[in-house]
């Protein structure tokens, strides 16, 4: 085990290479997930604060024929 970590005397070079690669790749993944979560929360809050315009329009469209039927 000690021999494995010693890397034939090149431990500093080998392990810092693997460590840096892990740091960059995990760091990017974590930052990406955070950004995605944050954006999704903001979008939910925005959608919750007011009904989306399209649905309102659709409800209006659905309501008017019914009204016409009622009038007829």
């Amino acid at each position: 085990m000690a021999e494995f970590f010693a890397m034939g005397g090149y431990a500093a070079y080998v392990w810092s290479s693997y460590g840096l690669a892990a740091l960059v790749m995990v760091g990017l993944l974590v930052a990406t997930l955070k950004a995605l979560r944050g954006a999704e929360t903001t979008l939910k809050a925005l959608e919750g604060s007011r009904p989306p315009r399209r649905r309102r329009a659709r409800n209006g469209a659905a309501a008017s024929p019914a009204a016409e039927v009622g009038e007829g």
């Binding site: 890397m7 005397g9 090149y10 290479s17 925005l46």
Partner: protein, 239 residues
């Protein structure tokens, strides 16, 4: 291709693909790390420093692969105004920059014990450093405009101009005298590297590719949500 240009369809499709690419990334990287660090022999000249290759070379391949993909997306974005193409280049840039950074630093960490120097200003190393600056320049340019569309257009032009650097990197080891060795895997006449070292190299390269696809899909999803937020805020502001 245009069938996938619809962001809503993309969100559905990427949700279906993501678990597979994420799983493939984890499995490939675990297997790759095991055979790179334990399952492969040390080099008879370089000893254990040869294990740096299993990070360095796949990262170098990825730095070029990502750039070429971004340049293709940039062309599609400029010619067809493809909405996802612009977002793809923006989403991929930090990942490409990350791989280039890994390539440069591990190269330095490999060069120090084997060449006796951390850095030389020769063709290969300098052209890869320029690639790194192209990534950073693109990221800065895209975010430098108030109007995101002008930003991506300027960024796309930079990506297309910077593509001349890709063949320079690839052939720099043949065109100029350099400390860096010539290609030993992707070359005419097949690889000159032994199977016991080629296998970990290829598994790590596949793992990096799966990682790239996973992270880019996640970043694209975030970009699309961000665009939606922007439009909602705009319509809100305009009443």
């Amino acid at each position: 291709m245009h069938r996938f240009a619809n962001p809503a369809r993309f969100q559905r499709l990427s949700a279906a693909i993501l678990p597979w690419t994420a799983g493939a990334t984890v499995i490939l990287l675990i297997v790759g790390l095991y055979i790179s660090l334990i399952g492969s022999p040390r080099d008879y000249q370089q000893g254990d420093t040869v294990r740096i290759m299993y990070i360095h070379v796949p990262a170098a391949w990825m730095s070029l692969f990502v750039y070429v993909n971004m340049a293709i997306a940039a062309a599609c974005g400029l010619v067809w105004k493809h909405p996802l193409a612009d977002l793809f280049a923006k989403a991929a840039a930090p990942v490409g920059a990350g791989f280039t950074l890994i390539c440069l630093v591990t190269g330095s960490l490999w060069g120090a014990p084997m060449w006796g120097t951390w850095w030389v200003w020769d063709a290969r190393l300098t052209s890869v450093l320029i690639l790194f600056f192209l990534y950073l320049g693109y990221m800065a340019l895209v975010n430098a405009f108030d109007d995101p569309q002008r930003g991506t257009r300027a960024g796309n032009v930079l990506l297309l101009v910077g593509i001349v650097n890709v063949p320079i990197i690839k052939f720099s080891v043949d065109w100029w005298n350099t400390l860096h060795q010539p290609a030993s895997v992707i070359r005419m006449g097949g690889p000159t590297i032994d199977g016991s070292m080629l296998v970990p190299l290829l598994v790590m390269a596949l793992g990096f590719t799966a990682y790239f696809i996973t992270v880019v899909l996640l970043r694209l999803r975030a970009e699309i949500v961000q665009r939606k937020i922007q439009t909602m805020r705009l319509t809100e502001a305009q009443g």
